[in-house]
């Protein structure tokens, strides 16, 4: 087991190195000279000014040298400085990360707390009205754009309750209630897709598990229906569901980037988008790398948890 965990975590290293090279090259290989763009296409900018900007951005030397200086900085927590206000990128990102994580955790909670029971009901009452309702609802759920849902929710709360979420971000530990009232609408908006996926997955695995011998045995020895469903079947049905959580984290991060903009939450996606529009390349590089690392790490954790839940995997 320990060997399995260690191997999985070691495998992250080449992936992260690879993706960091891709991100580095993406920023370098884009059309147009970054320096010209940053100086506003200013024809009067002297060579000296250009060189100075180049120096400042770490754009001197060959690509391998540039990559090495960036990567070795990142390893020591130095992501470079924002071009806009010379603030260290690491500071910008460390302010943004908790917001995005909170959003994603809330969304995952909503998705699993609602999606799992819906999937169970759908499977247990197969081909009933509630089953069809849940299944059509599931397909609608994966088709609805999160940013539209966010807009509709805002429209709904302001029309019906005359309430809009507070605009300026409040930290959870400063004022938990205000903080949660800020996060609830964006979290719902991005959770719906995941909720639908979880529901469909639980339904499918429950149907498989309910047909298995040990479930029949449990029923035969007189175990109550409820207990069969929740003790015997659901436990095993949930294992494969764990695997999709990793994939869902990617979806949630994409969705978070958009709803952070809509709700004015200064998370990683918000920082990334603003950096893109400001052509603040050190921040773009740092934020993208951070998102990739969060994604790769959470996938690895999901993998390890899966191996732990189902020992046949890690020993196989």
């Amino acid at each position: 087991m320990l060997g399995f965990v260690g191997r999985r975590f070691l495998l992250m290293i080449p992936t992260i190195i690879g993706i960091s090279i891709i991100i580095f090259l993406m920023v370098r290989l884009m059309p147009g000279d970054i320096v010209d763009v940053l100086l506003g296409g200013d024809a009067v900018a002297t060579q000296e000014q250009k060189d100075q900007v180049r120096e400042q951005l770490g754009l001197t030397g060959s690509y391998p040298e540039q990559y090495w200086s960036w990567a070795s900085g990142v390893l020591t927590g130095d992501f470079g400085e924002s071009y806009r206000n010379t603030e260290p990128v690491a500071d910008v990102l460390s302010r943004a990360v908790p917001i995005t994580l909170e959003l994603m955790i809330l969304a995952l909670l909503i998705a699993t707390l609602i999606g799992v029971p819906l999937g169970v009901i759908s499977a247990v009452r197969r081909d009933s009205v509630s089953d069809y309702g849940a299944r059509v609802g599931g397909l609608v759920g994966i088709s609805i754009p999160s940013f539209w849902l966010a807009t509709l929710l805002l429209l709904f709360t302001s029309r019906v309750f005359g309430w809009v979420p507070p605009i300026t971000y409040v930290k959870f530990f400063d004022d938990p209630l205000t903080n949660l009232s800020q996060f609830i609408l964006p979290a719902i908006s991005i959770s719906v897709f995941t909720l639908a996926i979880v529901m469909r997955m639980v339904r499918a695995t429950m149907l498989e598990v309910l047909g298995q011998d040990y479930v029949r045995t449990a029923r035969a020895k007189g175990v109550k229906h409820r207990l069969v469903v929740y003790r015997h079947a659901l436990r095993n049905a949930l294992i494969p569901v764990v695997t999709i959580i990793g994939f869902e984290i990617g979806i949630l991060m994409g969705g978070a980037a958009i709803v952070e903009i809509i709700f004015g939450l200064p998370g990683v996606g918000y920082v990334l988008l603003n950096a893109i529009f400001n052509r603040d390349y050190p921040v773009v590089q740092g934020a993208t790398l951070l998102i990739a690392v969060i994604f790769v790490v959470s996938n690895t954790v999901v993998d390890v948890v899966y191996g732990w839940l189902d020992p046949r995997i890690s020993h196989g």
């Binding site: 397909l139 994409g254 998102i291 996938n299």
Partner: protein
């Protein structure tokens, strides 16, 4: 998958395929009653086909039916829906319905071109990797793995943003992001087909690598590709809307569903219709492609695994 949990876990980045398993179970619809529909036993697929055809029709002929100019400004600003303007007017007095119709054309164009890019690049990569195997396969598939290490939409945002905001760049970005998923499915199918004796016979008869790939491999992997393309068309339309919403896709004043939703945010209290109709249009079309993909999967190969909801 008859025995969930017993199957060895796929590598983590294959999570898309784990999701796909959840979609292989749409077979519980009553089959006999609908047998007159021939192979279209899944009514979900038929509904999807209907929605998609309707959307194509609107995108192509809509402007001849509802002849108002989507860009013509008028003094009737922010008018609620009425007979003259069934979906109301926007902040510049432009007819919302005409703009929705133009948006249908835009989204369909982006969908087809972006998926076309991914299809060509992904098929080429997957074909070469699956055919040559060995180190070629190793390198190409590691590259594909790496591209999965960034969440799809974030990847698309970064590419589109770095290339510069425009519809063309949004299409390129979406195409690049979808390429690895297509490459992976093509490679998987190619590896399966390569195991059949007829491939060996063809080789023994002296066929060149290119001939085997184009004449014998490609025709035999069309079925999974069709389903994949259908589902990814929906995802591409959704992605274009998201990018345009963020200002990275189709640029105003041209009408696009995502862009219209973005503008609508400023008038959310004054004009609800601006926030409702473009989003409903996006959802309907994406739903149509997802339904259609579901139905096609039943017909072409029930065991097939591309995921609904695609690469984002």
């Amino acid at each position: 998958m008859s025995n969930p949990g017993l199957e060895p876990r796929e590598p983590p980045l294959l999570a898309t395929e784990a999701v796909a398993d959840a979609f292989g179970h749409w077979t519980a619809m009553p089959r006999q009653r609908l047998s007159f529909l021939g192979k279209w036993r899944n009514p979900i697929g038929l509904i999807g086909a209907g929605i998609v055809l309707f959307n194509v029709f609107i995108a192509v002929f809509g402007k001849y039916i509802w002849t108002l100019d989507p860009d013509a400004q008028d003094s009737d600003r922010l008018q609620a829906p009425s007979w003259a303007h069934p979906m109301g007017t926007d902040e510049l007095g432009r007819d919302e319905l005409a703009r929705i119709i133009h948006g249908a054309t835009v989204s369909l164009q982006v969908g087809f071109i972006a998926v076309g890019i991914a299809l060509v690049a992904g098929t080429l990569l997957g074909l070469v990797a699956g055919f040559y195997k060995g180190w070629v396969d190793g390198i190409l598939m590691r590259l594909v793995d790496l591209m999965f290490a960034l969440p799809g939409l974030v990847f698309a945002i970064v590419i589109a943003g770095l290339l510069g905001p425009s519809r063309r760049n949004a299409m390129i970005a979406i195409g690049i992001v979808f390429t690895p998923a297509i490459a992976r499915v093509v490679r998987g199918s190619v590896l399966e087909v390569m195991g059949f004796p007829y491939i060996e016979s063809t080789r023994a008869l002296g066929a060149s690598g290119r001939r085997v790939m184009t004449r014998h491999l490609l025709p035999n992997i069309v079925a999974p590709l069709i389903v994949l393309v259908t589902v990814y068309l929906g995802s591409a339309i959704l992605a274009e809307a998201a990018l345009s919403f963020l200002g990275l896709g189709t640029q105003p004043p041209e009408a696009s569903w995502g862009g219209m939703l973005n503008t609508a945010r400023s008038y959310i209290d004054a004009a609800w219709w601006l926030s409702v109709f473009p989003g409903a249009a996006i959802m309907l079309v994406v739903l149509g492609f997802n339904f259609l993909g579901d139905g096609l999967r039943d017909i072409l190969d029930p065991r097939l695994g591309p995921s609904v909801g695609g690469g984002l």
